[in-house]
Amino acid sequence: MSKFISKDELAFWLDGLMKDRQLIAPVIVDDQTVFKPIMNVDEIVFDYKNTVLSAKEWFFPTTEPLFTICHKDGSTDLAPIDIEKESVVFGIRPCDAAGLKLLDKVFLGEPPDFIYSQRRDKTTLIGLTCLEPAPQCFCGSMGTTPNNADDVDIMLTEVEDGYIVSTVTEKGKALLSDVKLSDSEKSWQEAKCPTELQVKEVPEAMKNCFEDNYWTRVSDRCIHCNICAYVCPVCHCFDIRDCPTSEETERIRCWDSCQSPGFTRAAGGHTPRPTKGSRLRQRFYHKLLYFPERFGDLQCTGCGRCVLSCPVNIDIREIIMDVPKLGAESGAKA
């Protein structure tokens, strides 16, 4: 027997949550589905494939202040930033929730990232099962599924007239404490996401093709637009800068990408990755070798956004398929 909430009851519950929390949900802006803080439950889109950007930006925003430097009467003081408001992210897909779990490994590792960890603590995740994966989706190959509830607090699955509710964590239970869920026998057709990519041997294969000309060949068409990093739910590289106004300076951090030529260029001009090939190689080695070596998981959840967004069709699925062949070739040569 599962628990059920009708569409009307769901809207009423979400409306109530907005009283003392920020509710972030998928909405349509300029024909694109994106996560935004909402004012009205009617704004929420329920039948989307996936959002243009992942929910990452609500934990690790595109740009955010780390603290403020105040200059007043000849003295300099630092003012901290605190995240006070509780939030709910509604409608996160399992791939993006899995992405947050991978981001946790970076940002909550010692020493924990102060701002990210506050946002994680104060946010409850309500997941939404994918009933029909998009053509670019491959979460099934990356260790998750369209209805995986492991990384959210509450999981909802749409059925006729409402949603099946799975309460996953204590945090989720607390959020649902005032809601009367009914028992339901309703079932749904479980979606299948492609599982044919063979990823298990990829990190080991990556070790054998670092010097392969393949990376230069693939990078020839890269225009280092950085979109792959920005749409990725797991890419975490950032820049830190001072943004001064007359009385204060915000020390901000913002998203950055290893595909940008300036990413590793030091003062004086020395740059350890001067070619597109070396930068593209860095992206895929980070995802498919360095991250697994450090944290035990591939740094990809199969959301397919980079596949969809890349203007020159660089496709991580192809790379995952090619790498074992390259490794075998250079292994044979050695």
């Binding site: 780390l66 603290f67 430097i69 200059h71 003295s75 300099t76 003081d77 630092l78 901290p80 930033i81 970076v106 940002f107 590792g109 020493p111 924990p112 990232d113 102060f114 701002i115 960890s117 603590d121 070790k207 670092f210 975490h236 590289c237 950032f238 820049d239 830190i240 800068r241 001072d242 001064p244 300076t249 020390r251 951090r253 950055d256 290893c258 990413f263 590793t264 260029r265 030091a266 003062a267 004086g268 020395h270 350890p272 860095q282 080695y285 980070h286 070798l289 360095y290 070596e293 450090r294």
Partner: protein, 278 residues
């Protein structure tokens, strides 16, 4: 719940003095404003910290001072980019931010009893400076100390005031060289790798610690290996563009290693195992 500190917030600090080491290198002596933070700011030779020029930004620099001397937190900084040029504008009394210390360090205890060869080129002497002064202050703990310091011109040699002090210590030699001499220069005019060959240090019970421009390291390494030094007897400190020092900003990796948390000090044995070579 216990509130963890924000690891991006620097300690407020004050510049106690600024000394010109060369026409483009200044030595900044600083102190943290909070006395408890200052006395808790312990670090080892080879570690680094971020120094903030408020309103401009922050950048990582090796700690040039030896902590045991308790003579302030020092940075030797060449004016070469946005933050370093802004720091060079600052004078005694100015407020700066210090975040750190970060990274691993030279394993000074492991070096005890060994002959130490220090090879520094230009501002590459900065991270070697606390190594030298640690050895000088505990001279009996270590074997012979050979310091080779090279620079483009005589006026580009850093820590000139200390050469005599170092040279007078027992079993210690200071060998200077420049790429181009001037009218007053009586010393060597030679490149560091050639000086290494000329001085012919023995690899027996020895550790060579080397820091300088990549091209100098490249050729010096070849010469040291010719002399019989093994990869695990040659140590360096790497640098890379960094923003956080915490292994999070994703910028300073060489292959699978982050310079900020796994380094910056590596033996060439370790470096030779990296999948990526700079």
């Amino acid at each position: 719940m216990e509130q963890k500190p924000n690891p991006f917030m620097p300690h407020m600090a004050t510049i106690k003095s600024v000394t010109d080491l060369t026409p483009d290198v200044k030595l900044f002596n600083t102190e943290l404003d909070d006395p408890a933070a200052q006395s808790g700011f312990n670090y080892q030779p080879g570690q680094f910290a971020f120094l903030s020029a408020y309103g401009i930004g922050e950048a990582p620099f090796c700690l040039t001072s030896a902590a045991h001397r308790k003579s302030g937190i020092e940075f030797a900084i060449r004016a070469v980019g946005t933050v370093t040029n802004a720091l060079h504008e600052l004078e005694e009394g100015a407020k700066v931010g210090i975040r750190g210390p970060f990274g691993n360090s030279f394993p000074m205890d492991e070096y005890k009893g060994k002959n130490i060869i220090i090879i520094g080129g230009g501002i590459g002497m900065a991270p070697l400076h606390p190594v030298i002064n640690t050895i000088i202050d505990c001279r009996d703990d270590y074997g012979n100390l050979l310091i080779m310091n090279g620079a483009r011109t005589p006026q580009d040699l850093v820590f000139k005031d200390e050469f005599d002090v170092w040279a007078k210590a027992p079993n210690t030699k200071v060998e200077l060289t420049v790429d181009r001499g001037d009218d007053d220069w009586k010393g060597r005019v030679a490149l560091i790798p050639d000086v290494v060959v000329d001085l012919n240090p023995s690899p027996e019970k020895a550790i060579a610690i080397i820091c300088g421009p990549p091209i100098m390291i490249h050729f010096t390494l070849i010469k040291l290996k010719d002399l019989g030094f093994a990869n695990d007897q040659i140590v360096t400190t790497l640098e890379g563009k960094m923003k956080c020092g915490l292994g999070k900003c994703g910028r300073c990796n060489v292959g699978e290693k982050y310079i900020c948390v796994d380094g910056p000090v590596f033996t060439f044995e370790q470096i030779s195992q990296f999948i990526e070579q700079f």
